[in-house]
Amino acid sequence: MMLPGLFLLFFINYLPLILGAPIAFMRYEFVADSTFVGVQNFSSILYDTRFWDSIWKTFYYAILVVGLGFWPPILLAIMLDEVPTNTLKYIYRTIFYLPTIVSGIIMVFLWKQLYNPSEDGFLNQIIMSVNTFGPVAATVVKLILITFWLSLVGFVIYCFFKLKELSIPVRGAILAFACALIVVTVSPFIDAWIGPSDLIIEARNLVKSEVSGWSGLLAFLTNFYGTFDVKAFGWVSDASFAMFGCVLPMVWAGAGPGCIIYLAALKTVPEDLVEAATIDGASFIQKISYITLPRVKLLILIQLMGAIVGALRGGTNFIIAMTNGGPNGATRTLGMDIFERAFTELEYGVGSAMGWILGGIMIVISCYQMIRMSQSKFRTADQAEREKNDNKQ
């Protein structure tokens, strides 16, 4: 009975793969005859700095996608679960699911509009609207933002010291995150203390003692009060932000649909455990970290694997539509590079060889994911409910 499935799979996935395999060893021509060149494609890639650059870009992209996009669904699910009434829950769920209705590539067109780098651009209009605040209002807004940021850092540090019972790797991760936040917080001050580099000082005719040390720090501190001076930002046409800009729409669109699986998982958390913990006087954060999260740990792990694989292979469509690898190769990930080689530079053999390398990297991660999955049992929420009732009887 599996035959149709297997046949289709063979026909659609494996046959092209098998037929495509020799191409990686050829100088492939679309119209003329192709010639066999052995492992030349592979060797030429490995000695190409562009390839290594795109490998680095791929990992950078994956880190951004996983680092920014992985936790919002979990947080959102926990928050949605706390919403008291069902109607509100339904409304919020629908709202956060909205981005899905705009299918993938079309969402990029929307965001491209928002990212318009001119002063008319939507996001630029928003960030530049703070310029209109008076000095007092601006100071208040700045103070609120600083307080918000500091309380976030404080919260993470608090979590590290409060949640002593967590396993060491998890505590380590929290500590690393806390350290990263502290570094991000402190680094502008250190930068201000050190001052600009000698080259810049020379170019702008500055006096070193005036722009570094205490005076530099004081000058930096003046930024914390008074009016804003925000200028139009380049968004995806700004090389340092481009990759981030490609990831942001995905994070935005992924939170709602991603949270649904966690919502289902949260339903399987037994009520009595939570109640017992409450009676014992556990705080909200303790309940979340000792009861809820461990219950969905396996799901989180599997999702994480999936997210990593997805991040490494995916996103090419988005990047093509959003920046097409630019500006200046800042968003040229491996998938993008393959696309460029195969379809723009018409070196299909080289592109194919790169595809095999990428596929090889990902099969390793997929394997681990599969092993973890094979050790677990999949149940829908209905089934879990039914089983729970069976156990009670």
Binding site: G20, V83, Y97, L98, E275, T278, F284, G351, Q375, T380
Partner: protein
């Protein structure tokens, strides 16, 4: 299961906590909804206000903005056209075009009376909004196209032959607007032209633009020389002081010698930049006849050179009347005749001079005119045609109708292109149908086999299913294309549906669900001698309707969003699916129409999610330790 228990929630701290969560989610949902609202409002815009970011398009509230939209549509989205026929103030685009603060009703009524009394010749006016601008066209174009279709009995070929323009489909039809003022313009007699003239005389005055010689002079001579925004250069050259070009009025006769610069420009305009049909002189017919006699010597020679011209004697020839269109046959002679007579005798003819003459005859003095029409002209020769007032009056009396029309036009275009006329929606529905058919047979079959017999290497088999997903799709695209070509699956909807129907995640889901079905059903069925297929169909399939709904839903969403696959494997126009159509559409459509397109394309997924949220939730499988 909420972490905050019901008892905790009742305490003030718990209430505060709930409030905080609701507020945080509210902020989050604003960031989700705002772009959509923006998209919705953008879908109602046009080229003119595309860059606006307000949630409610300005023209829905503001009358002036609506008026500007009307102008934009009337002048075919082309600001230069508008500048040719109308004074635009300091504007450099439709967004800043000058609109009178208040419509002068008496002035507009006077103009209507004037038009009724002196029927303007056809070559003194044009009809706006008949151009084909991208996929979004004006209502006038729609009416015009309908008339043309009727005039040609729906025969596109005869239209193409008559106009000499090859149109592939009716919707491409567009032959431009008649360029009456252009020096070498010649009218092509055609049924399309006749319909144009007929329609021009039928539609409200606001849709017409009389030829404006002043603005034509400005565009063709002054703006080229001095730029169109700043008057300082112009003032410097002419040694006068005008605040802006709106104050400028073209004199009917050559300016006096005290204005040498303007004199030169006027001369240049009359002889080089304007159609001679708008130039007349006070010469008598005899002068003209003697000029022709001198040039051609005999009447036979004249008839020979003027193709299609038959006159018996020179005395039969007369000078054209003021409102007569000078055909290309006699244009050359007439032009040369004008060049050799004294320049002081030449004068311009056109609607604006006729209007001034009409006003002068009716009101005698400027004072009388100003008090009767509520105006403040310095002299009758300063009177401009009150087109802006006519337009304003029309817009003011048709506000809601125009608003509705402008807000919906992008949607209408998309609806017409994708749903009511194009094959896109039909193809997509077929695509969805095949994909569902395959997905709901192949996957349950495979899952049934894996779940019921639990073959030893089940995970290995599953692994095979999933491992292929690790390879980037570009690697397999070309081999797959070659295979498809060999099997003649290119440009078939079935071919598109094949790869969609097997999906690792959905297979997991099915296996998990089938595993949970009670085993004793199968045992009983086996004892009763049921065949394997019957068990599959009557037990498994019948009992797993909820999960099949989930599979169907996921497949549907996947199919609806798939783009690269149809783009590469079904490129033919009659096999286009919606996503490809959207892609094609956004290449040459204005952004606002693209947004309308996106919105229409996402209605089905939206509706399905609204109603199938529970089904989706039900189908989510959560892993737990064995």
């Amino acid at each position: 299961m909420p972490v905050l228990t019901k008892i905790e929630a009742k305490s003030p701290k718990g209430k505060l906590f709930h409030l905080a969560i609701i507020v945080a989610l509210f902020v989050g949902s604003v960031t989700m909804i705002y772009p959509f609202l923006l998209m919705f409002s953008s879908a109602m815009r046009s080229k003119m206000d595309e860059k606006d970011m307000s949630i409610v398009p300005v023209f829905l509230k503001d009358d002036d903005e609506l008026n500007r939209k009307f102008l934009e549509t009337k002048y075919d989205f082309n600001f230069v056209t508008a500048r040719n026929y109308r004074r635009v103030g300091k504007g450099i685009d439709f967004k800043n075009i000058a609109i009178p603060a208040k419509a002068n009703k008496s002035l507009a009524a006077e103009w209507t009376k004037f038009i009724k009394k002196n029927k303007l010749p056809n070559h003194w006016q044009v009809l706006g909004g008949t151009l084909h601008y991208g996929p979004v066209v004006s209502q006038v174009y729609d009416i015009y196209l309908k008339r043309v279709k009727k005039a040609y009995n729906n025969d596109l070929k005869s239209l193409c032959e008559e106009l000499g323009i090859p149109f592939a489909v009716w919707d491409e039809f567009d032959w431009g607007i008649p360029l009456w003022t252009s020096t070498r313009y010649s009218v092509m007699k055609s049924k399309a032209m006749d319909e144009y003239i007929k329609l021009m005389n039928e539609l409200p005055l606001a849709y017409r633009s009389p030829i404006n010689l002043t603005t034509t002079f400005l565009t063709n001579v002054i703006f080229i020389k001095y730029g169109n925004t700043n008057v300082t250069k112009y003032n410097l050259a002419h040694k006068i002081k005008i605040k802006n070009y709106d104050e400028f009025q073209l004199p009917q006769k050559i300016p006096p010698k005290t204005q040498p610069c303007l004199r030169e420009e006027w001369k240049d305009f009359v002889f080089n930049s304007i159609n001679v049909s708008f130039v007349r002189s006070d010469a008598s017919d005899e002068e003209y006849q003697s000029y022709l006699k001198k040039t051609y010597k005999s009447i036979d020679k004249l008839n020979h050179y003027r193709i299609g011209f038959e006159v018996k004697d020179f005395t039969d020839i007369s000078l054209p009347k003021d409102d007569e269109w000078i055909t290309s046959t006699i244009r050359f002679d007439y032009e040369n005749f004008l060049k050799q007579i004294d320049i002081e005798r030449i004068y311009l003819v056109g609607p604006e001079f006729m209007w001034q003459k009409y006003l002068a005859r009716k009101y005698k003095s400027v004072k009388q005119l100003n008090s009767a029409l509520n105006t403040n002209y310095m002299a009758i020769k300063d009177c401009t045609m009150p087109i802006s007032h006519i337009e304003k009056l029309y817009v003011d009396s048709h506000k809601s109708e125009l608003r509705k029309r402008y807000a919906l036009r992008n949607f209408k275009v998309v609806w017409k292109g994708a749903v009511s006329q194009g094959p896109a929606v039909k193809n997509t529905l077929l695509y969805v149908f095949y994909a569902l058919l395959f997905a709901l047979t192949v996957q349950p079959l495979a899952a049934y086999a894996l779940s019921r017999y639990q073959p030893r290497g089940m995970w290995k088999i599953l692994f095979i299913f999933v491992a292929t997903m690790a390879f980037p799709p570009m690697v397999t695209t070309i081999p797959m294309f070659l295979i498809y070509k060999k099997l003649h699956l290119i440009n078939t909807i079935v071919g598109l549906a094949l790869p969609v129907c097997i999906n690792g995640y959905l297979l997991f889901l099915l296996i998990g669900f089938f595993d949970s079905l009670p085993k004793h059903f199968y045992e009983a069925a086996t004892i009763d001698g049921a065949s394997e297929f019957r068990m599959f169909w009557q037990i498994t399939m019948m009992m797993s309707k909820p999960i099949l709904a989930v599979v169907a839903l996921q497949t549907f969403i996947g199919v609806w969003a798939s783009f690269m696959m149809p783009l590469i494997f079904a490129p033919a126009e009659e096999k286009q699916v919606l996503a490809v159509w959207v892609h094609q559409f956004q290449l040459d459509a204005p952004t606002s129409a693209v947004f309308a397109c996106i919105l229409i394309a996402s209605i089905p997924t939206m509706v399905i999610f609204m109603f199938a949220q529970r089904t989706i939730m039900r189908g989510i499988a959560v892993p737990s330790e064995k």
